[in-house]
């Protein structure tokens, strides 16, 4: 699953470096229950079926869906299993105070839980078995904040993903390793992501995040710009930044000197 992290640009000072806020799309590995042997076996199988999939990919380990949330975790072992399968854990999401401290000792960062309300909603229950089955699907409807591990087996930069139907509120489509073409509108509350370009032959009302892998050549095109957010290569704009200019225009958005540039088509 992809995870979008928003950070504010806090400061860009100092001579030797700059701190820049941005959005990075990361894979999240959601642990559902703890069984180290099974975890190792299943991960290995996943890698064997898609050798190029992980490739030293940074990931976040999510503890939010654990069946026994406060149980003791052997982080060393978890990290070891991930690393030996070409995954590089960089942070832990959710979990108890003690668990984050343990993880911190081992050099992992800490990301607050995405789902604030901890009790599982009926909706999550409902979607749980379907989402378990949707591991290789890239269009999925999920409750707000409920996320699933979506791993695509498409090799890098080969495919263009074409979506013919409207992308609706609550749905998320990710074209991993290529471009995304939507032959309809992207609704308010929907999200489209691509490692390459995004073309929308309709209105863009939700979020479009392009250039996740290839920011220098990524563009977003849409027939009517009404987006809540657009982002290319981690640089983003919110609807309030766009309303004044080109709102509802047919536009081409691209990166120009680390700034988003919007042009009327």
């Amino acid at each position: 699953m992809t995870e979008v992290i928003d950070k504010e640009v806090k400061e860009a000072v100092n001579q030797s470096f700059q701190i820049k806020g941005g959005m990075v799309t990361l894979m999240v590995l959601e642990l559902l229950y703890i069984d180290y042997r099974r975890f190792a076996q299943e991960l290995q199988k996943k890698v064997a079926s898609a050798p190029n999939l992980f490739n030293e990919t940074p990931i976040i380990i999510s503890l939010e869906k654990l069946d026994h949330p406060s149980e003791y975790l052997d982080f060393e072992r978890l990290i070891e299993i991930c690393r030996s399968n070409d995954l590089v854990p960089i942070a832990v999401r959710g979990g108890t105070e003690g668990q984050s401290q343990q993880a911190q000792v081992l050099g992992l960062g800490k990301i607050p839980s995405a789902t604030k309300s901890s009790g599982k909603s009926a909706q999550e229950q409902l979607l749980r078995d379907t989402s378990a089955r949707s591991i290789n699907e890239s269009v999925e409807t999920s409750a707000a904040n409920s996320e699933t591990l979506t791993l695509e087996t498409t090799p890098k930069f080969q495919s263009t993903k074409i979506v013919r139907q409207p992308v609706r509120s609550g749905q998320r489509v990710y074209a991993r390793g290529g471009d995304l073409i939507v032959l309809a509108s992207v609704g308010d509350g929907a999200e489209v992501l691509a490692d390459g370009n995004i073309h929308i032959y309709g209105s863009l009302r939700g979020r479009a995040i392009a250039g996740i892998e290839d920011k220098d050549n990524a563009h977003i095109f849409c027939q009517s710009l009404e987006a809540s957010l657009v982002s290319i290569g981690g640089v983003y704009m919110l609807d309030e930044d766009m309303r004044a200019n080109h709102w509802k225009d047919s536009v081409h958005i691209h990166l120009d000197n680390e700034n988003l540039h919007i042009e009327k088509l």
């Binding site: 909603s121 009926a122 909706q123 229950q125 409902l126 979607l127 379907t130 269009v139 999925e140 409807t141 409750a143 139907q165 409207p166 609706r168 509120s169 609550g170 749905q171 309809a184 509108s185 609704g187 308010d188 509350g189 929907a190 209105s203 009302r205």
Partner: protein, 269 residues
Amino acid sequence: MAKIIVITSGKGGVGKTTSAAAIGTGLAQQGHKTVIIDFDVGLRNLDLIMDCERRVVYDFVNVIENDATINQALIKDKRVDNLFILPASQTKDKDALTIDGVERILSELSESFDYILCDSPAGIEQGAYLALYFADAAVIVTNPEVSSVRDSDRIIGLLQSKSRRAEKGDTPVEEHLLLTRYNPERVEKGEMLSIEDVKDILAIPLLGVIPESKSVLAASNKGIPVILNDQSRAGKAYADAVSRFLGKDVEHRFIEPEKKGLLRRVFGR
């Protein structure tokens, strides 16, 4: 084999139950044997609108839990032939509905009915999911305002990905947009979304536009489905929608601001 129709919306209070009662009554009036099932366990509204509240002995949950047979629980409408109600339980917990139970009852009803209408509860939780899961067709009830349209969009997404038809890869659930509480005067002033705005966002075929009308509340207070009031604009609009559902080509009415005479402006219908 019955056609299963879910009346759904995501957002609450937009007119699902009113529409289920009206459309169910309309289909029965056209000679189709119809049952309306109230999926809103815990709230039970449909029986009030259909005026059969005091005739409820057994309910949907009793049938699911095998405490009663379907025939014991079905209530036959007194006014319209071919029309039956399966009321919700007011006392049971909403987890009482199970997917297997719902499936069993729907397939049993399928043998003797032409249409099964499922009046969905609001939200996108278990009850709403069960109401839509088995649907062949969906009536998406939407008010001309942003939050309602957005929730409808969400529900259409669920129909397209989580319904039984979607899971099995069968022909998709038929989608019908029903725009209710439409007030052309307020649309003209820019206070509400227009028909075109909503159609543009949701991109599904328009079944009907039901005007905002006082006769709706009056009818439900009396326990008369508004479609039986042939003086009411909302009632007429529902009758048109039923005809369209049955394949007739009927022009949309009541979608332009009314040119009211003085008397009508004072007494407004």
